[in-house]
Symmetry: C2
C-alpha cells in the first residue's frame, strides 16, 4: 500500500485545523473520539483563539507545530480550507482530509477552489481526502478522523468489516446497521467529492489490512476502475468478499449524484459488467450492503442452491418456497431416508418433504428445531437452510431455539439464516451469533447472495487468464467531432481482415459488375448502396433484398445509384452480398467508454435491438466463455437453444465473433471508436456477419 494512504489509516501524528474545545462541534468531535478510543499517536489541535483544546495544547497555525504532522484534518471551510491545504503541502504533511462542503459539488466557484486544492496537493505529493468528506475512522489504530455522530448513537467496536463510501451518511448508516447486528467495524471511511483519494484507493488500502474480512463500498462515480480491480484482486486472494452500491443508475439518480458529490456519469451497464468481472457483488442500498455480512463473516461456503426451509408456520413454508425460485434457489429434494427420520420426530400431520413444517407441535417439544435442522442438513441435497419463525413468544422456549440453532450453525457447516420479525425473538438468535432477518424474503435474499457471489468467485478462480490486459490507458474523444465512419464495405473488410466471418460480397462500381457479382455469388443476393455518408441505408431506400435475376439486380443498381446522387452522398459503389441463411438475427456492438475502455454489447439483433432491450454488456477483451455466460441470461437464450425440434444455433461461433470484436476494439487502443455488427446471422453451423459499421476516432 502507498505510504501516504497508510498515513490516512494509521497516522503517527494528526493536526486538526479548526479544532474546537466543544466535543460535539465538528472541530471537536474527532479529538474527543480519538482520545476515547485509544488513539496512541500525537494530536495537534490548531486554533489561533485558544491555548488549550480539550486539555491538549493548541497551536495558532500549522506552521507553529513542532513537526509536520502525518495527517491533517481540515475543518475550516471555503478559502481557509484552500489555504490550509496549501500550508500542508508546503510543510510536507502526507495526507489531509477536507471536511467542508461547498466545493466541487456546488457551482463554478467551488469547483475552482477544489481545483486549487488538488493542484497544491499534487505539486507536493500530499494526498487529499474530500472535500465534502465526513472523514475517516480506523478503530484498529484509533485514528478517528471523522465527525460522524453515529459513533455516539451506536458505540463502536473493532471488528472485521470495512465500510468505504463517498457519502458520510451512507458510511454511517451501514456502520450503524452492522453494529445493530452486533458486528464489529474496523474501518469507516468517507471520501466525499474524491478530488484526489477515491473509494477504490481506500478499498485497496483496507484490502491489505489482515484483520479485514469483508469490504462494503458505496460509490456515486467510478473514475479509477483499474485501482478497484486491484483491490478486488487483493481481496479475492485473501478470501475477502467485496460488495458495492454504485448509485446514480438512472438519469434522475445521476443528476442527483452530480449535485451531491460532483459525480461524473458512468455507463451503468458497464459498471455492472466491471463489478461482475472482478467478483464484486452489486447491490442497491445500504440495507442490502449490510444484509449478507453475518453470513459472509461466519466463513460459510455455500456449495449449491439447494434450500431447505424449516418453520413453525405452514404459510411461511409456502411463501418461502414461492420466493426461492426467483432468487435462483431450488427447494432441495430431501431423500426418503431424511423424510423418514423427520417423520419420526414430527406429528403425523406435519410436512416432512421440504419445506418442513414442524407445526404447533413446537409448543410441546421445544427441541424440535434442534432435532430437525441436523437431519435436514445431513441430506446431500441440502446446501442452505432457512429457519422461519413468524410467531413465537409465550409458550415457546425461544432461548432454547436460539441455542439449538447456534449449536447447529457451528457444527453443520452449512449456511443457515433465521427469519423472525419479533424483536425479542430476533435478539435471542443474534445473541447467539446466528444470522437473523426480519422476514423470510430478506433471509432468502441474503442466502442467495452468499451462494451466487461465492459461485462467481469460484468461477473467477477457475477461469483462464484474459486474452490481453484491459486497455484503460488511451481514452479517445467520445463526442462525434473529428471521427469518421467507414462505409459498409470498408467495415466488412476490416472485420474480415481480423479473421471474422463476413458475408460473401462484392463491391461493384457498375451495373455490369453488379450483375456479374450476382452470377458469381449464386442464389439470391442483397444489393446495398455503399457510402461513408449514409450509415443508415434502409431508411433511405438504399437496400434491396432477395434479388435473384439479372434484371432485378441491374435495376437495383440503377435505383440506388440515383438515390445516392440525390442525397449528394459520396458513392463508393454498390455492395452485392449473398443472402445469409442463418436462423437468428443477433448483434454484436462495441464502443469505447471513457472510464472502462472497450465495452461489448451482444444480443438480439435486427432492427428491433432498441425496442427489445435484449442485450448483455461485457468489458472487452473477454473470453468466449464470458460471452456464452452473458448470452445464457438473455430472453433469446431458449430460442438459440432450439425450439420445437429446431437445431440449436451455433452459439459458440457467435461467442467467437463477439470476443473477436472485443479484442479488435481493445487492440485498437482507442483508434476504433465503435463497431456495430448488426445483424450477424446465427445458423446451426457457423455465423455470418451481414452488415457492419465501424467508427474511427479522429
Amino acid at each position: 500500500m502507498q505510504a501516504k494512504l497508510q498515513a490516512l489509516l494509521t497516522p503517527r501524528s494528526i493536526a486538526v485545523v479548526g479544532a474546537s474545545d466543544h466535543i460535539h462541534k465538528i472541530g471537536g468531535r474527532p479529538i474527543h473520539y480519538m482520545r476515547e478510543h485509544g488513539y496512541a499517536g500525537t494530536l495537534y489541535p490548531v486554533n489561533p483563539q485558544r491555548d488549550t483544546i480539550q486539555g491538549l495544547p493548541a497551536y495558532p497555525s500549522l506552521d507553529a507545530l513542532p513537526e509536520a504532522p502525518e495527517l491533517a484534518i481540515i475543518v475550516v471551510g471555503g478559502g481557509a480550507a484552500v489555504q490550509a491545504v496549501r500550508d500542508c503541502a508546503r510543510l510536507g504533511v502526507q495526507a489531509a482530509i477536507v471536511i467542508a462542503s461547498g466545493f466541487g459539488e456546488a457551482g463554478a466557484e467551488g469547483r475552482r477552489q477544489q481545483r486549487e486544492m488538488v493542484e497544491a496537493a499534487r505539486a507536493s505529493g500530499l494526498r487529499l481526502v474530500g472535500p465534502n468528506s465526513q472523514g475517516l475512522a480506523n478503530f484498529g489504530s484509533g485514528a478517528i478522523a471523522s465527525f460522524s455522530t453515529m459513533f455516539i448513537e451506536v458505540p463502536p467496536q473493532d471488528g472485521p468489516v470495512a465500510v468505504i463510501s463517498q457519502s458520510g451518511g451512507m458510511a454511517a448508516m451501514v456502520y450503524g446497521l452492522l453494529r445493530a447486528q452486533g458486528i464489529g467495524v474496523r474501518h469507516m471511511h468517507a471520501t466525499g467529492n474524491e478530488a484526489d483519494v477515491t473509494v477504490s484507493e481506500m478499498a485497496l488500502a483496507v484490502a491489505h489490512d489482515p484483520d479485514v474480512r469483508l469490504i462494503l463500498l458505496y460509490l456515486e462515480s467510478l473514475v479509477d476502475p483499474a485501482v478497484l480491480a486491484e483491490a478486488a484482486a487483493v481481496a479475492r486472494q485473501r478470501g475477502v468478499p467485496l460488495v458495492a452500491v454504485k448509485s446514480g443508475r438512472s438519469d434522475a439518480g445521476q443528476r442527483a449524484a452530480a449535485s451531491h458529490t460532483g459525480a461524473i456519469a458512468n455507463e451503468d451497464r458497464a459498471v455492472s459488467a466491471f463489478l461482475e468481472r472482478h467478483g464484486i457483488w452489486r447491490v442497491d442500498d445500504a440495507h442490502a450492503l449490510a444484509r449478507c455480512a453475518p453470513l459472509y463473516l461466519r466463513g460459510w461456503q455455500a456449495r449449491g442452491t439447494g434450500l431447505v426451509v424449516v418453520s413453525n408456520s405452514g404459510a411461511s413454508c409456502v411463501m418461502a418456497a414461492d420466493a426461492a425460485q426467483p432468487l435462483g434457489l431450488a427447494m432441495a429434494p430431501l431423500g426418503a431416508a431424511t423424510q423418514a427420520a423427520l417423520a419420526e420426530r414430527l406429528p403425523g400431520f406435519a410436512a416432512t418433504a421440504n419445506p418442513v413444517d414442524v407445526t404447533a407441535a413446537l409448543l410441546t417439544n421445544s427441541g424440535l428445531f434442534g432435532e430437525v435442522l441436523p437431519l435436514a442438513a445431513a441430506d446431500p441435497a441440502t446446501d442452505l437452510l432457512l429457519l422461519d419463525i413468524p410467531v413465537a413468544g409465550m409458550g415457546y422456549d425461544v432461548p432454547r431455539f436460539a441455542r439449538d440453532a447456534a449449536a447447529f450453525a457451528t457444527e453443520a457447516g452449512k449456511p443457515i439464516a433465521v427469519a423472525a420479525w419479533q424483536a425479542p425473538v430476533a435478539e435471542a438468535f443474534r445473541a447467539q451469533q446466528v444470522p437473523v432477518y426480519a422476514s423470510g424474503r430478506e433471509a432468502l435474499a441474503a442466502l442467495a447472495q452468499l451462494v451466487h457471489h461465492q459461485r462467481r468467485l469460484r468461477e473467477l478462480e477457475a477461469a483462464p487468464p484474459l486474452p490481453a490486459a484491459i486497455a484503460t490507458a488511451a481514452t479517445p474523444a467520445t463526442g462525434s467531432a473529428g471521427g469518421h465512419t467507414l462505409s459498409e464495405a470498408a467495415s466488412l473488410a476490416r472485420l474480415a481482415a481480423g479473421g471474422l466471418p463476413v458475408v460473401a460480397h462484392r463491391l461493384c462500381r457498375s451495373e455490369d459488375e453488379a450483375v456479374a457479382a450476382w452470377r458469381e455469388l449464386g442464389g439470391p443476393v442483397a444489393v446495398k448502396a455503399c457510402s461513408p455518408d449514409v450509415p443508415h441505408k434502409s431508411e433511405h431506400g438504399l437496400v434491396a433484398l432477395r434479388l435473384d435475376d439479372a434484371q432485378a439486380v441491374a435495376q437495383a443498381w440503377r435505383a440506388q445509384s440515383a438515390a445516392l446522387a440525390r442525397l449528394g452522398a459520396r458513392a463508393e459503389g454498390v455492395l452485392v452480398a449473398r443472402m445469409a441463411a442463418g436462423a437468428h438475427e443477433c448483434m454484436v456492438g462495441a464502443h469505447w467508454d471513457p472510464v472502462f475502455g472497450p465495452v461489448l454489447v451482444v444480443g438480439a439483433g435486427g432492427k428491433y435491438v432498441e425496442a427489445l432491450h435484449d442485450t448483455a454488456v461485457l468489458l472487452a477483451p473477454c473470453r468466449e466463455a464470458d460471452v456464452a455466460r452473458a448470452l445464457a441470461g438473455l430472453r433469446i437464450a431458449p430460442l438459440l437453444a432450439g425450439v420445437r425440434g429446431e437445431a440449436a444455433a451455433d452459439v459458440a461461433a457467435l461467442c467467437r465473433v463477439a470476443a473477436g470484436v472485443g479484442e479488435m476494439m481493445a487492440r485498437g487502443g482507442g483508434a476504433i471508436r465503435a463497431i456495430d455488427v448488426n445483424p450477424v446471422m446465427v445458423g446451426a453451423e457457423g455465423v455470418v456477419i451481414v452488415d457492419a459499421l465501424i467508427e474511427m476516432a479522429a
Copy 2:
C-alpha cells in the same frame, strides 16, 4: 351478510368444547381473552371433568347446555371433533370453529373425517370454520374465539383493519406487524382448511362492518372467486381497499400449500388477472400486506406518480431517485418558483432540484424539514413525498422533525412516507401518526402501491360494464378424456362464424381442387393437411408455405396426403390458404379454468410462444380496452407501436379478436374447452387469423 356468518363475528352465546381451566391451554385461552376484552355474551365451557372453568360453571356436554349456543369453539380433536360437529348440527348451533389439525391436510383418514364434519354441518345449515383453524377474533364485539398467543405478545386495540387468513400464523403476524405500527385491528380471522367457510366469505362479512377501513387477506387457495368478487365490490363501494397474498405461486409453493391447508392448485396468472379485475392489490408476504396500511388509513388520495424526495443525505437522494423509476414513480420536476423558494431556505451548496438535499444544515436549523416539505408539496408536479432520514440522533431535533412532518401530513393532503432505520427516530414519527419505514426502498414501495392501487380503483370506477356476466357455473372436465379437437378447417370455420377475421382459404379434397384454390386465391399460398388427429402439423411435415405455382401446390397435396396416410390419421382434406402479409405474429388463446371459467391469453405468437413467455392473461369475457392495457405491458408493445418509421400495428383489431375469442368461450359455457389462435398476423390495418385449433369438451 348471512346471519350465520354474523354468529361467527358477534355471537350472543359461545360454547367451548374442550374448555380448560388453564388460561394458557388452547381450550382455556379463548375464554380468558373474551373475559379480558369485554365479550358481553354468554360463555358456556364444556368439560365433563370439571364443575367450573375459570370461575364459570362448566357443562358436561353440549346437550347439557341451557340453550343451543350461537357459536361453538371445538377444541377437542380427531373423532371427538367430528362428534362435536354432529352434536352442534343436531342441536341447531349456528356456527362452529374446529381448531384441531390432522384433517384434510393430513392423509386419507383425515380427509374422510373432514368430509364427515362437512356433511353433518351442511345437512343442518351449520356453518363450519376450519378444521385446522386458529379461530376468529373480533375486537369490536369481544368475541375472541381464537387461541393465538400474539394477543399476549402485542396487546390488542380495536381499530379499522380486518385481517383474514387461512393460516393462523400469518393472521397473527400481520396483526402483530400492524399493532407494532400502532394500528388498531378489529378482525383477525383464520379459516384453516376451509372445509366450509372461506376467506372470501369472511372478507364479504367484514366488508359490511362500517368500522372496517382496510381488509388484508392471506389465501392458499381460492375456490369461490364469485364471493370474493362480491366482497371486493362491497369494499370498493365503501372505499375500503383490499390487499391480498395468494401463496402457492410456484410448483414447490403449491405442494407446500397442499400439505399445509389441503389447498387446491390455482392457475397463478389467472389469480392475478382475477385480483386485478376486482381491484384487489396483490402482494407477496405478510410484511407487504401490512406495509401500505398506514398510508391507506390516512385516507390520502394519490393523484399521480410525481414523487418528491427530501433528505438530509445526498446519497439517500441519489438512491431514492434510482429506486423510483422501477416502481413506476417519476421524480416530479419542481418549477422554478419552487426551486427559488427552496434556495432561500437551503445553504448554497444544497440541491434545490428534486431530490432535495437539505444537507447537514439540518443540524443548525431543525426547522428545515418543516419549511421545505410544504414548499415542495405546493408544486403542482408533486403527488407524493418521501422524507428519508438515514442519519439522525445527537444534535438533531428529531421530535421537532416528527412534529413538523405530522403537521405537514395533516395539512398538505398529499401522501408522505418517512424512511428512518434508527428505532428511536422511527418511533418519534410513528408516535405522530406519520407513516414510517425502515428503508427508503420500503417507503417508496408503499407509496407506489398507494398510487397504483388507487389508480386501478379509479379505472374500475370509470370502466363501462363488462360485455356479459362472468360464466362460473359450468365447469367442464379439464382432463383430456372425452373431449375432441376440431380440425384446423373446422376451427377456422367456427371462428369465422363468430365474426372473427380468418385467412382466405379452401378445404380441398383433391389435387385439382387444391390447384384451383391456389388460382382462385391468387398469389402465394400455404398448403396444410387437415386432420382432427394431428393438431401439430408442422412437426409431421404437413405444412408447406409460400407456394406460388400449380406444380408446387399439386406436389404438396400429394406429399401431405401420403404423409397423413402413413400416420393413419383421418384426412379431412388439405387446406389451401392465402399467405397473410401481417407484420407481427401474435397469439390469442383461451381455456376453461375450473375456478375462474374462461381465461384468455394474448401476446407474442408463432412457434416461440413458450420460449419467449411474452403473453398476458385476462379473465373472459373482457373489454377490448382491458386487452389493450394488458398488451401495453408486454415486451412486444414497442414493436407493435412501430419501430424505426414502421407503421404501427392495428392493436385495436387484435384486441377485438381477443375479446371476441374470450366472449366465444364464455358464451360456450364450457362446451368449448380451449381455443388456440396462433398465429394471428397483425398488420398496419386489420388482423388475420392464420391458424387455429379448438378443443371441445365431451
